[in-house]
């Protein structure tokens, strides 16, 4: 893993146990970026679902393959890229899980949740390289910790005293 300034890059073995590793990195980066707890969880869920897609569907649960992640903090957003070594997929062809005929289906909600929780979701496929998804969450006054009583503010008071 490399960490420099406002980004973290990591290459993980394609194993479901590494989903929680990605979640942990995500939590830290989303917190550092300044998102409130609620959006930290939403971003974490989007990363979780993307990791599942990369490991399970992209890399076919083949532990000899790799999932590559990059978390980059910008002043106005957190951008996350996740790349597998699979054969790609067409996100536009994923059925709408909210349609009446799909409501009781067991699978097919992962992409929907990613789209719901993030501001941008893009996929690119490059032959020989794999599928890369890009997730973007923008910082707004509404998704940063409220003033008054936050841990960060409390620490600030302590350090100034």
């Amino acid at each position: 893993m490399t960490a420099q300034g406002s980004f973290v890059e990591v290459a993980l073995e394609s194993d479901l146990k590494n989903v929680e590793v990605a979640e942990e990195i995500c939590r830290r980066m989303a917190s550092t970026a300044g998102f409130d707890e609620s959006d930290q969880h939403r971003i974490e869920m989007a990363v979780h679902e993307s990791m599942i897609n990369a490991i399970w569907h992209g890399n076919k649960n083949d532990a000899s393959k790799t999932v590559w992640l990059r978390f980059q903090i910008y002043p106005d957003r957190l951008e996350i890229r996740i790349r597998d070594q699979g054969n790609g997929f067409d996100a536009s062809r994923v059925p709408n899980p909210l349609a009446d005929e799909n409501l009781l289906k067991v699978s097919g909600r992962g992409i929907f949740l990613i789209r719901t929780f993030m501001d941008e979701f893009r996929t690119t496929y490059t032959a020989g390289t794999g599928t890369e998804v890009t997730l973007v969450k923008r910082l707004t006054p509404n998704n940063q910790p409220k003033e008054g009583g936050t841990d960060r503010e409390h620490e600030s008071h302590n350090s100034s005293g």
């Binding site: 479901l16 989903v19 969880h41 869920m45 979780h48 679902e49 599942i52 399970w56 899980p97 909210l98 409501l103 009781l104 289906k105 067991v106 699978s107 097919g108 909600r109 992962g110 929907f112 949740l113 719901t116």
Partner: protein, 119 residues
């Protein structure tokens, strides 16, 4: 923390106290096996207590749907108890909140099975 489940019988209702993560892999397969086992024993009234579920993903939601369908197909009913805010929000987002019968009081949830059976 992986998923854990303990089963207790309250009157005619099988209450399953679930804790931990219901996610793709072990968590989902454990829940699937447990529900199949209860259905095969003829237990048709199942109440899933999700109070201590710390994390559920799209596969976990799918597993709840699968459990609901499995019990319903046997003429029974599966209900949910004590949703955390995160699980509640996910069921709202996925439009499943209206599919499941959701309770926040165990005694009332238990009684609701009797009412449904005698209706």
């Amino acid at each position: 923390m992986s998923m854990k489940a303990t089963i207790r019988q309250v009157d005619s209702v099988t209450v399953v106290d679930v804790s931990g993560r219901i996610t793709l892999g072990e968590g989902c397969s454990q829940l699937r096996d447990l529900i199949r086992n209860e259905v095969s024993k003829g237990n048709k009234h199942v109440l899933l207590n999700l109070a201590d579920v710390t994390y559920i993903d799209s596969s976990g939601i799918g597993e709840l749907v699968s459990a609901y369908t499995a019990v319903s197909n046997q003429g029974g009913s599966l209900k949910l108890l004590n949703l955390t805010k995160k699980v509640h929000d996910l069921l709202q987002i996925t439009k499943l909140y209206t599919v499941f019968d959701v309770h926040d009081d165990e005694a009332k949830a238990i009684t609701s099975f009797d009412k449904a059976a005698s209706a």
